[in-house]
Symmetry: C2
Subunit: 144 residues, 2 copies
DNA sequence: CCAACTTCGTCAGAGTCTCTTACCATCTCG
DNA sequence: CGAGATGGTAAGAGACTCTGACGAAGTTGG
């Protein structure tokens, strides 16, 4: 409702636009067998691998849900699970070969969209936006 | 993965933080019988009412899904459906009394969070952020 | 060492959300 | 008026998420 949109919607709109473009591009490149929910978990896998519980916390879902999504990503070949050498209870979720290829593709699409945004805002203001968002992250992201 | 987060995640993090705070606050005020999906539809109801199809488009879901969510919002007393005087096929979804009260509460919470963000960024940079996001909306929001 | 507690993960079951397909009613236009 | 477009509903299936309960492994304090 309203004259001036609240900041939440203002943040959400470009996020969704970007997500949509990435999905579209990945599907066109043959990576069409995963869902938004799976992607949001996949996106948070750390370079050396992450535990399911970590992924759950960062994605804002329960560990059961995260486990469910990782199962599917594993079946589709995007990730693999290996024992965690540091903890016998845990297993590390790592990006598998196919997952790495999809990351490459999505990187390209994100760069493309960011270029469009930069063209619209101007390089200086685009940099400003990123700086502002990074600063905001300090008080809105519990994980650093 | 990575040193510098992509802009998408940078946008998503504060969005989610704000949404979480609003939910928390609404629940504390007794508005605890609705879900995030329902809220995302509710949020887009225009002042004079909206058609289900409009809500679906703007929320990025099918009209069937929107209808499903509106049903629940109606049952919980947040919205009401009235015939659209301009079109015999259509019905307008309007904010009902209880919905209006929840809007009041959420407005207060949003203002509170925005004040925190302003305190963190500074008034000038907060205004910049909103301006930048509003500009970005021009190329990321299909509905104006 | 061992008992209590915590943490990582799984299983089972239910509720929520979303989609596709199909259909009816109404409106618009030629 | 008839054809096509549009607003909405119905039915069914699949995806996502949660709560509760549990086993296995790690941690801590006596």
């Amino acid at each position: 409702m309203t004259e001036s949109l609240n900041t939440g919607l203002l943040l959400f709109l470009p996020y969704r636009a970007l997500e949509f473009r990435v999905f579209e591009g990945l599907a066109a490149a043959g990576f069409d067998d995963f869902t938004p929910a799976q992607a949001r978990v996949f996106q948070r896998i750390a370079p050396g691998g992450s535990r399911t519980t970590e992924l759950a916390e960062q994605a804002g879902i329960t560990k059961q849900s995260a486990s469910f999504l990782v199962d599917q990503l594993e079946r589709a070949g995007y990730v693999e699970r290996v024992p965690d050498p540091a903890d016998g209870r845990a297993r590390l979720v790592r990006v598998a070969e196919r997952g790495a290829r999809s990351v490459e593709v999505s990187r390209g699409i994100v760069a493309e969209v960011e270029a469009e945004w930069t063209a619209h805002l101007g390089a200086r203001r685009m940099a400003q936006l990123r700086t502002l968002l990074a600063d905001l992250r300090e008080i809105t992201d519990p994980w650093r």
